[in-house]
Symmetry: C2
């Protein structure tokens, strides 16, 4: 019995290069690679919402429905575009601490280059080649901690959350920098209501303007906390 890949999660087979063999009929005018590359192009240029079957089809000079000869659904397309756009992780330096910093930095850099990746809805655990490669390299670097694989996975998720967190923050702050007027207006609207509504800590935060900070510092701060926390665990474990 041949492998039934019909009910595998969307994009799994295609992302690993397993595509239905074709024996008869006209040769396809397009290729998956071409379609995915076009999707990434649209994402880079116009954001995540712009990566649609319609647009890609139009760009490639084909009707929308022709796309369904290549992908089963939009979701499948997104999975493929996501994996391809994430690409391969960098080589990590030796030493789990340096490796973790490099890994997180690389992720932040990636999200800086392609902010729209933060908008990709995450349906489940990663199963595509490039995403799993990122997991693999970090997990390998964490092996030297001597912790259990389970704990290492926990650390990795902590680091991943940290990276996504700050990348998202950096994006929204970068976007709001374009309209400092609006930010000012928000403050004027908000502060009186915070004072009346019993938000003393937030008021003092606003008035001290402590929220005006360098994002790199923020990332460094969060990452340092996590790494210190992992260190404590390593020291505790026999």
């Amino acid at each position: 019995m041949t492998e039934d890949r019909a009910d595998l999660p969307p994009g799994l087979a295609l992302s690993w290069g397993v595509l239905p063999v074709q024996r008869r009929g006209p040769k396809p005018a397009l290729s998956i690679e071409q379609i995915v590359a076009t999707g990434i192009e649209f994402g880079d240029r116009y954001g995540f919402e712009a990566v649609s079957l319609q647009r890609i089809a139009a760009q490639l000079g084909v009707t929308t429905n022709a796309m369904y000869r290549y992908v089963r659904s939009k979701e499948e397309l997104i999975v493929l575009v996501h994996d391809k756009a994430v690409g391969l992780p960098p080589e990590l330096p030796s030493g789990w601490r340096a490796a973790a910093i490099a890994w997180v930095d690389a992720q932040v850099k990636l999200y800086e280059d392609r902010p729209w990746l933060l908008d990709v809805p995450i349906r489940g655990a990663p199963v595509t080649p490039n995403l799993l490669r990122w997991v693999e390299v970090m997990l390998a670097a964490l092996a030297e901690t001597g912790l259990s694989q389970h704990d290492n996975l926990g650390c990795l998720m902590l680091l991943d959350g940290c990276a996504r967190n700050y990348a998202g923050l950096a994006r929204q702050l970068g976007a709001s920098d374009r309209t400092p007027v609006q930010s000012e207006q928000v403050g004027q609207f908000l502060v009186p209501r915070l004072m009346e509504g019993g938000y003393p800590t937030l008021v003092s935060l606003y008035l001290n303007q402590e929220y005006e900070d360098d994002l790199d510092d923020d990332l460094e701060f969060g990452l340092a906390r996590i790494l210190d926390g992992i260190d404590v665990l390593i020291a505790k474990s026999p």
Copy 2:
């Protein structure tokens, strides 16, 4: 000159109860509260994608376009529904460490009750009353650490990321539990390719089935790391 709330971020004014005064004309058949409550109902019942202007309008016996008398856009609706569905934070116990645990637990519980809140796209820093209330209570609890407000904000973001992380993980794992057959198939598809493709760590992870774990443990693990990390910082600071 009266306050110009026209160009404030969508949902800001409405969430704080500032709604356009109406002097003439028929009384509105609907109220914002009603609309938002209906949106939450749909979210609870059918997930985030189900909260649409069309559906809410139909449910309330009104045409879609009538909605635009109350909210300026779908985004505004989402912001309002989000804030209302999040609700008020719990009372936190004294002691920043216990408070942090309670705060994260409450958030995880919230996302357990309303998983669709994880799908709400985050456009910017929180500005709505309930969301800011969550920030306020945690920031107040962190005041006793003696760290700067800036550092406290960093800690809060760390905790928030942790909560969202594990809530998301819990949801996807809970969803995949419904179809263990598919998970099996994924493994059968994936493992050979991981072995051939040079993913030794992941292969061992898969084969040891170390990924089968209690999620509560995961949360506890991540949270413990973060709290330990914060502790280290407190100990270092004068």
